[in-house]
């Protein structure tokens, strides 16, 4: 329903008009008798239309209209008046009235006309509002678009409208843009070549440069479409600023270049692995592997991995790609194309590569590092081994933190556990022998003050109660001001060395005593034989005090016949120093007696290698020489005997072993002398031999007996053995002499003889018995007449043949005996051969 406000000063007319307008219930009619009343109502209520009289007492319809419009109220306004003046009508229309109706005819027709005009004005106003609202929406849309929009007359290519985005992009205000040709601002190269208007395209979209008001240009993506706006053809040209996109693309390209450069110039091999092959490999990867980039990207990457590490790396790769847990950094070996081995450290992460999971791998060549590590490890091991082998403990005192650190060897040296030690200097002090403790601490402090080097020895008391001697060395590290920062040193056990030093001292004393008390004369001479020292035994030996001999030549105490030879020996040895072996000389005692001296000497040298002289020993062998000849004779007998003659001491150790023993037993003298004589006695014979030897050692006489011994080749040899005691000068039994005779040949002879007797018995005695038996049978046959002469002859002939064979066999055996045994006298051999 339309709401109508009727304004007229005539109440009757108002009532008539209300009646007419409201009768078809299309309109709701309100009334006002003056403009002022109407304006009050209009302030409160919105009407679809106002119908006002012109000629009202206070305010005319025109003035009412002006007031209404000046207040911004655009409600449709119809002047419905009795005055038909043209000027009033003109004023009404000019001041915004929609219609001017004159009441001058049939009221029925007048109100029909008014109704029609009311409808029309409302409709028109509503259309106007819709247009206005539509335009407003379009304007807002245009103004809110981020893209620039130009509306261009299609015929003239004059820009008629530009939205703020377009103005912003072009750096201009609307006045600078509208009214200008689009060819000047947007498409300068397309004048007369416009794709839409000249070339007939319906739509154009392309990248262009948009000219800005300041003369610069920006890249834009332009879309142009032809539309009809009102009754004219326009081109709507929208453009999007591509500057940021271009900038981004440029930055992206720069970034890509940068990353590419970074990857290619990297000192690490960078590879992307996907589906078991490499998708990217940089120059370093090519250098690491020796394969070309093309080869790398076409082969399964496990080929590049050392066979021993391949399974591990592939497992990690698969696990990582599946999203499982795998180390992101580890070390393995590559196997380059040349077959060598390279250690690499891998740092890996999972990335998207062409929307598929892949691994980004950074490989650092650590071959040199590994070598260095190995070398370092070896050196460390070697140092550790050396310190352990040498029993050297290493300690470090941090003088800033006041802590003392020991290695394992230190704990071992001191016998202290880590828990007890606790890293305190005082603990170390407490371990030092009380007698050495104060000195040690003082030396330590002096070293810290830089007064001396730390190089000392001390004793420690271990918890197990043992006292050990320690040698200690240390160096002090200082800052630039000379303040000590730390002290590093070593300890090692010199208990053994100390013991050796003590023993050496004792040994020297012993030797000195021995030299002076020994029965032989010890002497020192220079290279010419000039005596520089003579032991006190010279008094007994030669009748001279040592002082009487020192300063004299050794040869001065030799008898005249030997002087020259002794002198020559020293002369010769001066040029070619060598040991002087057992020189026998006739020496002249102070009392004029001649004794035989046996002397030997060794040269001794200065540190620079020059011969200084000789150290010698001389002994009186006068008595020995007298008995020597007899001993030589006995020795010759023993040596040349075919029997084994073996001497042994009371502990069964072999002392002598002659050539006969070597022949019978197979062992040389060197192999047997000094060893247990029972080594050649069979196990089963040992107890019996013990008993026999015990008897011999007790002085009982023992008959010779047959026994066996084990030869060197493991075979047994049968011997006949006799034992006799060896007595010393005092008649005490000090050993046993064993004389053994080899029974092998004797046994062979006996065996052969047995074989001969046996064979003789078998091949001679039994056949003779057989022949005898058969002759008896033949005799019986003859006596019984139970044999023909031919049979008798034949049987006797057989026995003759048998007899001849016996004789032949006997001869054959004789030959064997006579030629097989050289021990048979020749006369008997001839006899047997007959």
């Amino acid at each position: 329903m339309l709401s109508v406000l009727l304004v007229d000063d005539d109440p009757a007319l108002l009532e008539i008009a209300r009646t007419h307008l409201a009768k078809n219930k299309e309109m709701g009619v309100d009334t006002a008798q003056s403009a002022a009343e109407a304006l009050e109502k209009l302030n409160v209520v919105t009407y679809d239309v106002v119908v006002s009289d012109y000629d009202m007492p206070i305010t005319t319809g025109i003035e009412f209209l002006k007031t209404l419009r000046s207040s911004g109220n655009l409600t449709p306004f119809i002047i419905f008046t009795g005055k038909g003046q043209e000027q009033v009508a003109m004023d009404a229309i000019n001041n915004g009235a929609d219609f001017y109706l004159i009441r001058a005819g049939d009221p029925k027709h007048e109100f029909i006309d008014l109704t029609h005009k009311i409808r029309k004005s409302v409709k028109q106003r509503r259309a106007e509002i819709e247009i206005r609202e539509s335009e407003e929406r379009l304007r807002k849309l245009l103004y809110s678009l981020p893209s620039g929009v130009l509306v261009i007359d299609a015929e003239t290519h004059i820009i008629v409208q530009a939205n703020p985005a377009a103005l912003l992009m072009m750096g201009a205000n609307e006045q600078d843009i509208t009214g200008n040709s689009c060819f000047e601002l947007v498409c300068p190269a397309e004048e007369s070549q416009c794709p839409i208007t000249d070339l007939g395209q319906k739509f154009e979209s392309s990248e262009r440069l948009l000219l800005r008001n300041d003369g610069t240009s920006i890249p834009v993506l332009i879309s142009v479409a032809r539309i009809t706006l009102g009754n004219r053809q326009v081109l709507v040209e929208t453009f999007t600023d591509l500057s940021a996109q271009k900038e981004t693309e440029h930055e992206l390209q720069k970034s890509r270049e940068k990353y590419r450069h970074l990857i290619e110039q990297s000192n690490e091999a960078i590879v992307v692995a996907q589906d078991g092959v490499l998708r990217l490999a940089n120059n370093k990867a090519v250098e690491f592997t020796g394969y070309s980039e093309q080869e790398l990207l076409s082969m399964p990457f496990p080929v590049l991995i050392h066979p021993d590490d391949r399974a591990m790396v592939v497992d990690h790769y698969n696990e990582r790609v599946k999203g499982g847990e795998a180390p992101s950094r580890y070390i393995f070996r590559l196997q380059p194309k040349d077959g060598s081995t390279r250690w690499v450290e891998l740092s890996v992460s999972v990335i998207d590569w062409d929307r598929q999971p892949a691994t980004l791998n950074f490989l650092t060549d650590i071959t040199d590092r590994k070598r260095t590590e190995e070398t370092l490890l070896q050196l460390t091991d070697r140092l550790s081994l050396a310190t352990r082998a040498g029993g050297v403990g290493i300690w470090e005192q941090d003088l800033i933190k006041n802590t003392l650190t020991w290695d394992d060897q230190m704990f071992s040296l001191y016998g202290i556990t880590r828990e007890v030690f606790g890293g305190a200097y005082e603990t170390w002090q407490g371990a030092i022998h009380p007698d050495d403790r104060q000195r040690c601490d003082a030396e330590h402090q002096r070293a810290l003050r830089g007064e001396t080097n730390y190089n000392t020895e001390f004793r420690i008391l271990r918890p197990d109660g043992k006292t050990r001697s320690i040698r200690a060395l240390a160096l002090v590290q200082r800052d630039i001001s000379g303040k000590p920062l730390r002290m590093v040193g070593t300890n090692w056990d010199i208990t053994g060395q100390k013991k050796v030093e003590r023993e050496l001292h004792e040994s020297r004393e012993n030797y000195r005593t021995m030299v002076e008390e020994i029965h032989d004369m010890i002497w020192l001479s220079d290279t010419k034989g000039l005596l520089k020292y003579v032991s006190p035994r010279s008094t007994t030996l030669l009748g001279y005090q040592p002082e009487e001999m020192i300063g004299h030549l050794f040869s001065e105490f030799i008898s005249l016949e030997d002087t020259k030879s002794v002198h020559n020996i020293f002369e010769k040895n001066f040029n070619e120093p060598e040991e002087l072996h057992l020189i026998e000389t006739h020496s002249l005692r102070k009392d004029g007696r001649i004794i035989i001296l046996e002397s030997s000497a060794v040269p001794y040298y200065a540190k620079n290698g020059t011969l200084v002289g000789y150290r010698g020993v001389s002994r009186d062998i006068t008595e020995i020489k007298k008995s020597g000849e007899l001993q030589s004779l006995l020795a010759a007998i023993v040596t040349s005997s075919d029997d084994a003659i073996v001497g042994e001491d009371s502990h069964h150790m072999v002392t002598t072993w002659n050539l006969g023993a070597e022949r019978i037993y197979g062992y040389s003298r060197e192999e047997m002398v000094g060893t247990d004589s029972y080594r050649i006695v069979p196990e089963v014979e040992k107890d019996a031999l013990h008993n026999i030897i015990d008897r011999v050692l007790q002085g009982e006489p023992v008959e010779h007996f047959n026994t066996f011994r084990v030869k060197k080749d493991g075979s047994l040899v049968e011997i006949s053995m006799s034992l006799s005691p060896i007595l010393d000068d005092h008649g005490h039994i000090i050993g046993i002499a064993k004389i053994a005779r080899d029974l092998t040949k004797q046994r062979e002879t006996e065996k052969a003889l047995l074989a001969y007797i046996s064979e003789t018995a078998m091949r001679l005695k039994i056949p003779v018995e057989l022949i005898g038996g058969r002759l008896s049978e033949i005799q019986k046959q003859v006596l019984a007449g139970d044999v023909t002469p031919e049979e008798l002859h034949l049987q006797l002939q057989i026995q003759v043949r048998n007899t001849e064979q016996i004789v032949s066999n006997l001869r054959e055996l004789n030959m064997a005996i006579s030629t097989g045994f050289s021990t048979i006298p020749e006369a008997y051999q001839d006899y047997l051969k007959r």
Binding site: M762, R763, E777, E791, L794, Q795, N802, I806
Partner: protein, 196 residues
Amino acid sequence: MRFSADTLNDNRIVLLLADSRKLKQTNTAVISELTRNGYNVLIVSVTLPNIVVRRTYEAAEIDLAKIYVVDAVTRYSDGPTVPNDPHCKYISNPGNLTDIGIAITEWIKPLPGEKKCLFVDDISTMLLYSPSITISKFIHFITNKLRLFDVAGVFLAVEKGLDPALFSQISTFTDLIQTIEDDEKQKALKENLSAD
């Protein structure tokens, strides 16, 4: 103790030891026992010529059809031989062990169901012509052949006529060693037992 052919059922090769004066008697008794028990016998004779062997066996009523003789003494003693004698093979001398071995090998293959026995007369005489080591090897060879063809064997030797070494070797080749007591000894033994 007398020899019984049943002995050969369990002990296929037997060494018979007999007194040197009773060898011929033992020979005849053993052959008689063997032939009576169905054995065809090959006699290797180094003591008696074939002609005497046959006459002796004939006198003892031995079936001569079961006898085949390898005669090693007739030729050696220049005695008469029968050419192509089907029951006798003449060997040049008792020391020709090769020919004796061949003769045994030719004879040894038995026909199905046939019982055969080799009889060697005697080892002691063979020792007159060959060293004991050779005789030992020969007997080893022959006993192996006999066992291969399951033929029985009886080796005769003089009691106490083999030295310990040879006796030991032969005893390892044979299954049984049997000493033949002569009748006089047995008789004396029985008298002693009854007197006790």
